[in-house]
Symmetry: C2
Subunit: 343 residues, 2 copies
């Protein structure tokens, strides 16, 4: 089912919620699902819900947003406007890879360079929570919220999956929050509706649908990446220079570990400076921390017991290719007391 969405048509906050039934979402399990039929049904549901309207969505390059973009375009063609917002804190080649993948499917996406806005918002912030908040706020309020309003579209397509819903109050409250995040006052914003065609699925179901839609393996194969992107991989203030550095370290680490069947792996740029040697001179340089996790569900995790050939190989490559870095460490703590990410 498509979530029917809020239909607030007056200016009373209580009445916004009044009379709306919060439906319990029925899970569609990946095992035994009919992918072809699922896609056909969703395409028809989207067309029926939107009628002649315009729809807008933001593509991050992650699995969920990629799949919802593909299904939306199959239903609506050019009536779905897809923005890829380059926040300046993505991995090496991320934007190009995503744009190329969709071009191959005949889907045009608009790449919006918003890196300036994100780096401005991040300037001077060192607290991890404030950093995450700055990335989220900039995305929703400053960039995507304005694009939504500017587009004139009243329908918002989102790649919400059942796992996202589990921990929030399902339905209205959550959608109300989306508008608040976008800086759109739901009491004034008559007629906005949210389409969530993947909301009955879990991750494995979404992957099946993605393959059914012809999305390339590159979309599914990359290791998960957190919302605040490389900003979460820098300790202390985030600057374009630090992002460029950790981006290189991330590329080296992901390449070295791509065939390891690990739950998650990452490179973190520390703010601390340590003593090192370059050309027989003592210098103070940066340190990169590598983490590689064994985990089933991210609630607990252990460091992967990588061989020292692999570990020292990563350290050698990073210190060789990134002149600022003189020292590389590997995290040997479990979660808890560590967390998967450092920020």
């Amino acid at each position: 089912m498509l979530d029917s969405g809020p239909t607030a048509r007056n200016s009373n906050a209580n009445s916004f919620l009044r009379g709306i039934t919060v439906k319990k979402i029925k899970e569609i399990k990946a095992s035994g699902m009919n992918v072809k039929k699922f896609i056909e049904t969703k395409v028809l549901e989207i067309r029926r819900a939107v009628s002649e309207g315009q729809v807008v969505n933001a593509l991050s390059g992650g699995v969920d947003s990629s799949v919802v973009t593909a299904i939306g375009h199959r239903a609506l063609g050019n009536r779905l406007k897809t923005y890829f917002i380059d926040n300046g804190i993505m991995r090496e080649g991320e934007g190009a890879m995503v744009a190329a993948a969709f071009k191959k499917l005949g889907i045009e996406i608009e790449v919006v360079d918003a890196s300036g806005a994100f780096f401005s918002a991040l300037r001077g912030i060192t607290d991890p929570e404030e950093k995450r908040e700055a990335v989220t706020q900039t995305f929703y309020k400053d960039i995507f919220g304005k694009l939504v309003v500017k587009s004139g579209a009243k329908y918002l397509l989102q790649g919400t999956i059942l796992t996202d819903v589990d921990e929030t109050v399902a339905g209205i409250k959550r959608q109300h929050n989306v508008f608040e995040q976008l800086g759109i006052d739901p009491e004034k914003a008559f007629g906005y509706r949210i389409l969530e065609p993947l909301v009955e699925l879990r991750k494995d179901g979404v992957r099946k649908v993605g393959r059914g839609l012809g999305l390339p393996e590159s979309i599914f194969k990359r290791i998960p990446f957190p919302g605040p992107a490389l900003a979460a991989r820098v300790i202390g203030e985030v600057t374009p220079e630090k992002i460029a550095l950790v981006r290189k370290a991330t590329a080296i680490t992901e390449k070295a570990l791509k065939d390891i069947k690990a739950f998650q792996y990452l490179a973190i740029l520390h703010e601390d400076r340590v003593t090192g040697m370059r050309g027989n001179k003592r210098i103070f340089g940066n340190q990169i921390e590598i983490r590689c996790w064994e985990s089933l569900d991210a609630r607990t995790a252990r460091p992967t017991r990588l061989s020292f050939d692999v570990l020292e190989g990563i350290a050698t490559k990073i210190t060789k290719e990134i002149p600022e870095v003189v020292s590389v460490t590997y995290n040997i703590t479990s979660k808890p007391t560590s967390t998967i990410e450092a920020v």
Copy 2:
């Protein structure tokens, strides 16, 4: 031979060096040395050099200063005044261990609590070189230099070994520097002399002499420790709280690795704060970095390929026993580009 020392008896800086022959020191190799005869000779040389004078020295607890203290007391008894300066940045139980070892040999040493002076000197300093300089200056000028002057002794006993001399201009220049370090103007300080009975030996020879003098194995067995002590194991400003924390981590690390035949191992407290979990709550905590080196001569080094059982054991013990620490890493870089110590 005992270094004959400077005999500057006028106030002209040039004439201080004029006419002094810089003697080349002849190495006594550990293999085949007659330890008993060496000790007897040095005892006699010290007695002859000092005659009825008073002698003073500083004992750090390291091998060289321990051996020179023992040989000095054998020669002079109570006419050698030995200070153990507690700088507040030593390892767990270091002062007590050293005092007990010498008490067993019938040697009384005076423990001077100078931790306040060292922490004052370190306050606000984050630059590694300035940190080292603050520790050195406080030791020589503020504490030991004043004790030397106050003691009235004109003879200074030092555990200099041949390796210390190798990279400096031998003889006069070096001893001139010692007085400058102590804040004693050698042009005005008539009659000060330095005794260096171990200056023909390398480390292995010193160990042989130490055993010949009856020093306990505990003096030789502890892993080498740098001059700036635990201040070199804290990134950023050094405070009593941070020293207490890295002292605990150092004790756990040294205990876990004491049977590993490594060149050097250490625990470093980072200034960066990382996200962690305690009692299901997200907190921001400290990170400890472990280093353990394979090396022949400290000029190049590689990380010891410790087992993950050992590595994770250290991380678990540190995060369990030190509530502030949520994350532990292991250094996987070689020297160069890393250095053995981080500060």
